[in-house]
Symmetry: C3
């Protein structure tokens, strides 16, 4: 079998009319307000049953060609696209945001577990909120509290003393280590490890002796944590991920790190022990932050940046060691010309040497 190029559609949601969507999203219908859609899709792949969006003028060609039933767009894009036939429009100020908001309206059927599977193992004194669900072969330790409507995926392990709020989604094969505290609406994707021991050793003669790792991990509300990401507990006191922060796959966060609110950490980024990211920091893919540093509010680090010193709030940085991005761009441009510069310097030296040999007037 070769996988079919005609990719299967994701499960459909409840049918919504353009009028109803315009009302809930705060937009204006241009076209048939009765038109119904029950799915979400990009302009190129959309069918007549899908709501789509046009996020800017450079997608107007896709907008003209789309088969989507309804499209969220700015009035500028609608005008540019023309309206001979084609989709119903919902004119909004920010189509991308409206598209993201619309996802909730469809109430897509989720394949999340329901109830406690007969094979789930629950320790002593486990407290489950209303509607909490635990999937097959999950193992829940003693004294765990799981809030209402939270779900634990197949084969996940939640160790003793873990507390989590409501509407938390813990993916398959996730491990949440002893004592971790998790807020509401947190999403943990498959394979992530939360609250394992940090990497702390002290040299004691011929061996590396482990420094006691006695703290915990605190994950606040509305955090998302990606697949196979690893976040260590504190050595003493907590590691903390503050509310609204989103963390991608294969990210490493060391012990006693504090990640601020609404930060974005892209794939394979890493933050070493005890460093602090203030609010709204963005680390692009494969960025590294060394230990015991402070990265100021709103700092943006370009891909693969190596942060080895404190970074002032509001700056965009790049390179190893990190320097301001504007400077970095100019450095990169000159760096490519280094072999040429070497030649020019050598030529200058030759020229100066010739001058030196020129007899100067007495």
């Amino acid at each position: 079998m070769t996988p079919d190029d005609a990719a299967p559609r994701a499960p459909r949601g409840r049918a919504l009319s353009a009028g109803a969507l315009a009302q809930s999203l705060g937009g204006v219908v241009e076209g048939d307000a009765e038109r119904l859609v029950d799915g979400l899709c990009g302009l190129v792949e959309a069918t007549a049953r899908d709501l789509s969006f046009c996020s800017g003028e450079r997608y107007v060609e896709d907008l003209r060609a789309t088969c989507a039933g309804i499209v969220l767009a700015t009035s500028e894009c609608v005008q540019l696209a023309g309206r001979s036939r084609g989709p119903t429009y919902i004119v909004v100020a920010d189509p991308f945001v409206a598209y993201a908001r619309a996802a909730e309206e469809f109430a897509f059927p989720a394949s999340t577990p329901r109830g406690v599977h007969r094979t789930a193992i629950l320790g002593a004194r486990v407290v489950l909120g209303d509607g909490a669900a635990i999937d097959a072969y999950a193992v829940i330790g003693d004294d765990v509290a799981i809030g209402a409507c939270s779900t634990i995926g197949a084969g996940a392990v939640v160790e003793q003393g873990v507390m989590m709020g409501r509407d938390v989604s813990v993916g398959p094969r996730v491990v949440i280590c002893e004592g971790t505290r998790i807020g509401d609406r947190v999403r943990v994707l498959a394979g992530a490890i939360l609250g394992s021991e940090g990497f702390g050793f002290v040299r004691d003669g011929e061996l590396h002796r482990k420094i006691p790792q006695r703290g915990i991990l605190i994950v606040e509300d509305d955090v998302e944590i990606g697949a196979n990401t690893a976040i260590a507990r504190g050595a003493s006191g907590p590691t903390r991920i503050r509310r609204g922060t989103k963390i991608d796959n294969l990210v490493q966060i060391g012990h006693n790190v504090s990640v601020g609110e609404r930060c974005l950490l892209a794939g394979q980024a890493g933050v070493a022990g005890s460093s602090v990211l203030e609010d709204d920091v963005v680390l692009a893919g494969q960025v590294g932050v060394a230990d015991h540093l402070r990265v100021g509010r709103g700092v943006v680090a370009a891909a693969q940046t190596g942060i080895v010193g404190n970074i002032e709030a509001g700056t965009t940085v790049s390179g190893y060691p990190a320097i301001p991005h504007g400077l970095a761009r100019r450095v990169y441009a000159v760096r490519k010309r280094l072999p040429e510069l070497l030649h020019r310097i050598t030529a200058l030296e030759d020229a100066v040497r010739r001058f030196s040999k020129t007899p100067t007037p007495e």
Copy 2:
């Protein structure tokens, strides 16, 4: 217990004679055509029961010293090694390729699961091909199709709607998320996560709102995916890994990425959302590719390269931002001398200043 230096041998296969091997691999026996081997091993560790190979003249010393029963080698290497005693040779044009091909001949006993383990949980409407096997504590969702002779490792989770072809090997603790399509002869090593949600958010006032991740992941025939690697599903439309591509451990692939045929992605490489790798691209270890880029056919990126712009087909690149490898090597050579160059520039400025003070003739 300290682990024994005398490492245990891997399980032996069926015994094959030099003559039979030469016939199946297209080589010529020099020595005893009746000699039997039932295993594969490098020259240094091989025993008389092993088939080994000499991949070039710099291994002739190892060839002279080997205890291997049969060695695949070029006629040049055989001549260089001499043939007083020692192994039987099978003379072939490419010993390394022949060695890799020979693995199939031995039919090594695999420890893969057989049948459906009594503890495996199967959802509704699961279709299993002949000889498909599911190991202990694996969890298979509704509407999953698993082709003939495919095996699902212990504790793996295959979510609803997944379809996979024949002779697929899914390792222990792998998670294959909803709707993923997998071709024939695909191998997924332990702990990999296929088709989890991508990292897509749009700022909506004080929060990062998730962009609906409604696409799927398509993995074509003969792909290998390494341990603890994470590959996201598409946001809309598929993420796609084309036939014959091999992906190492701890690699991160974002949503809607398209990886071409026969690509090689080494350990800890990462490809951000919507980027396209054309066929035969090679990313060495820890290479990063930013989002929405195109990396042309046959591009090779050296270790740790940071690709932040499109790369033309056929080029070899290095550094951050990526530049042609030949240029990069010259840049690296000069870069080391930057402190020296600074001094030379300063010395030149001093010299020029002295000249400027020299009274010029009236």
Copy 3:
């Protein structure tokens, strides 16, 4: 629920007096030798029930303010802090080492599994040492030997032929592949994959043919391996991690790598196939070592270093390609000034051009 800022205390150990601790750690009590503590904590978060430590003069302010019951400190720090009220001191030469050593004294109650859980699946001829324990849904293959007091976490998979020593701790969801050999007192954190197949392919016409991966992985005594780390087995002969080495989370180690004794590999470091790290090598976070290299004894590589050639013993390196750290620091300082240097070179060229036009005396 929002996670409580008042983080829960880790489980307490047995109560120990300052006098008893001073005796076992080789220190001298200053203050109340009868004072009891039953936990370990940093100066800032400690309560009266905790033993803490002051690792140097720059923490003297924290020492003055601490609520810890007993503090390990040098006599210099004790004098600087004064002793009006406050904790009992135990004066030692190296407070950090003493703190790490003290962890063993408290015998903290561990939440490690006890006995063989009823849901654990054991293959044929599995040998368990006294006090060995296997947690829920773990799967143990045929011919596995697990030493005394070793523990296998929930949902872990130990494939056939694995042998491990005593006091080994295997975390939840770990996979230990076929034939892996593990020494005594090894700790494997959650989600790690030990001994999976390496990434070895040879081009054979239109396909990448897998090179047989027939070796094993040997992990010696006192090694620690972090969460979601992946270590490949040898292709032929072993991959080897020597005694006392500590490996952090999300580290990648290729086939046939040899890591020496007492090495430290920080988060997201990677070592490609067949490379050798001699003893006491330190790789900081995100360091990469290319294949078939030798990194000499005691080499230290700064964060994100790219090692693409052999490194002499005892050197500290940085950058890509790695150069000596001292030189690298000077290079980084000049690199920032590259746009300025370009201007200075251009200005010099202008000056020299002007001189050239100056008529020289006849």
